[in-house]
């Protein structure tokens, strides 16, 4: 009886986690936490970046466009690439140590914040890119 209850409880929690990880809203909330820890220092609280140093994420084509490329930037980092004719001097370190879910969450947050309106990124999409870029 006792074990059944624990088993049931754990099962419900697992179900809840799966549900949470698949709903956009909680993914955005989790993504915000990742953003504050990993991204804010350079891209700033409002995503507008810093002129000539760190590129803006606000309504940027590369943020709203191809998800695979965006995942690759997170996994591999970026340096010395001009965006819309502007060069940026800072280095973006690779963030391959983040989990597929964390990367999916933070990209979902970025793609739906700062005035951006683009589709969510799922962990499976991150995984597919990670396998190819290894």
């Amino acid at each position: 009886m006792y074990w059944t209850r624990i088993f049931f409880g754990a099962g419900a929690m697992a179900l809840a986690l799966v549900f949470m990880s698949q709903t956009g809203k909680s993914s955005i909330a989790r993504g915000r936490e990742v953003y504050l820890q990993q991204c804010l220092a350079c891209h700033q609280a409002d995503g507008s970046g810093v002129e000539g140093t760190n590129p803006s994420l606000v309504k940027a084509k590369y943020v709203l466009g191809d998800k695979k490329m965006l995942v690759r930037i997170i996994l591999k980092g970026m340096q010395g690439v001009d965006i819309d004719g502007e060069s940026y001097h800072n280095v973006m370190a690779p963030h391959a140590d983040l989990t597929d879910q964390q990367i999916a969450d933070v990209l979902t947050y970025v793609r739906s914040s700062f005035g951006n309106k683009a589709s969510a990124v799922r962990a499976a999409e991150v995984k597919a890119v990670r396998v190819k870029t290894k």
Partner: protein, 449 residues
């Protein structure tokens, strides 16, 4: 869109492949070795061309001490980095990126109303450094240093054929400005910034260990000395004058002490990389942005230590075993003056004029470009500071001289500045000039008794 990848680039292979992949998507324009594609795509056979000078009038947005006034002498020049003013009032501005194929702007007041009305452009490369000395104009790209012959009216006689006096300096797209200063003995000093934040194996990556020893210091992270009149000098022919400097943009030769003074940009991201040792408030204030007086052989300690302006101590860098308290840098010299963190000192000028009140004589003006690495705390900077000097040493604390280049305190806090102070120069009448590499403004600041 230009999709040039220079194969001789020093970018790490992985980053290069990624960049190549991104270029192919068509969303990014990619550049390899600095400004080379600008050079090849621009028409270098065209002589200097004239264009109108925009701007003018008093600018009450800039906050100054009583008795001073700021006038806009030019607008929309481009990424106006450093500036040099000749003894006849002709102004040369180096642009960070060539605009319409011209990377240097010459401004002249032809009608004597005190404001330049004629502009000409030449030099098809972006860069930062510019200086006038003994009949020559010196200018730097992010890899090379050039010099141009000037006539008695400060016209450039060889705009398309400068002498290349220094070449092949490292440019890895981080701290790439090659700022310059000249002494009175035929030497030019060039900053070669470290292409790194704190000499980690993987730059700015949390958990990546430090290089031990830091090999970056062999060819960057210091000041190199070259002869002003020898062609094609590079690392082997120059003198490795000073080391342990992460990145210097503002530097000036002090004629009182007969020595080079530099402003170092301190390291970033203490909290991001070491959240257990530094909270966001400490990380916003630390480490200090430092002024150093250099001599041949000077070592300022980067990346093994940083200067903590609150404890007034040299602290062991956390990448090298530090914890925010342990002292370090026994062999490193102390700064002459320490400023709050991350404000980005991009211009340094020792004032030798007679127009300003006595307290400014021989003192140092510093242009702070403004911070980004104080987030989530409010950003700081976007101002020109002043340090009084007496007998070659600071005679008081630093103070704000010209403020509000950002346009408002809110703009400053959010790092969304209208203008970013970068270069400083002194005019023949004792006024000083300030450049802005965001909107290409040049201000003249004068004192009216």
């Amino acid at each position: 869109m230009n999709h040039v990848i220079n194969k001789s680039t020093t970018m790490p292979r992985k980053a290069l492949y990624l960049a190549l992949g991104l270029c192919m998507t068509g969303l990014f324009a990619c550049k390899g070795g600095g400004n080379k594609e600008e050079q090849s795509s621009s028409d270098s056979t065209k002589a200097a061309q004239s264009f109108a000078v925009k701007g003018g009038g008093a600018d009450s947005t800039i906050k100054l001490p009583s008795g001073f006034m700021a006038t806009i002498v030019a607008e929309d020049l481009g990424k106006a980095r450093h500036i040099a003013v000749a003894s006849n009032g002709v102004i040369f501005v180096k642009l960070g990126k060539a605009k319409d194929g011209k990377g240097i702007v010459r401004l002249q007041d032809t009608n004597g109303d005190g404001k330049p009305d004629q502009a000409t452009g030449f030099g098809n490369y972006g860069g930062t450094g510019i200086a006038i000395k003994n009949g020559y104009l010196y200018a730097s790209s992010d890899e090379d240093v050039y010099r141009y012959k000037l006539d008695s009216n400060f016209n450039v006689t060889n705009p398309d054929n400068p002498e290349k006096i220094v070449s092949g300096l490292l440019n890895r797209h981080e701290h790439e400005s090659k700022s310059i200063a000249l002494d009175n003995d035929g030497n030019i000093y060039v900053n070669i910034g470290a292409y790194s934040n704190s000499c980690q194996l993987e730059d700015r990556k949390k958990g990546s260990p430090a290089q031990k020893p830091c090999k970056i210091l062999d060819s960057a992270g210091g000041i190199w000395q070259f002869k002003v009149d020898k062609p094609d000098q590079t690392y082997g022919t120059g003198v490795h004058y000073a080391t342990g400097l992460r990145n210097v943009v503002g530097l000036d030769w002090n004629t009182t002490t007969n020595s080079l003074f530099v402003m170092q940009h301190g390291r970033d991201q203490l909290h991001d990389l070491f959240p257990n040792m530094f909270d966001t408030k400490q990380s916003a204030e630390l480490p200090a942005e430092c002024m150093y007086e250099l001599h041949k052989g000077s070592n300022c300690g980067w990346p093994y230590m940083y200067y903590d302006q609150i404890q007034h101590k040299k602290i062991l860098m956390p990448e090298y075993g530090g914890d925010g308290k342990k002292e370090g840098g026994k062999d490193a010299q102390d700064p002459v003056m320490a400023f709050p963190g991350h404000m980005a000192p991009n211009g340094l000028l020792f004032y030798t004029g007679n127009q300003f009140p006595d307290k400014y004589k021989n003192g140092a003006f510093i242009a702070f470009h403004g911070s980004w690495n104080r987030a989530p705390e409010p950003q700081k900077g976007f101002l020109v500071a002043f340090v009084p000097f007496s007998n070659g040493k600071p005679s008081g604390d630093w103070e704000v001289f010209a403020d509000n280049f950002s346009g408002s305190p809110e703009n400053t806090a959010a790092a969304r500045a209208d203008h970013r102070p970068c270069g400083l120069a002194q005019g023949p009448d004792g006024s000083i000039y300030v450049t802005d590499d965001s909107k290409g403004y040049v201000w003249k600041i004068s004192y009216k008794k």
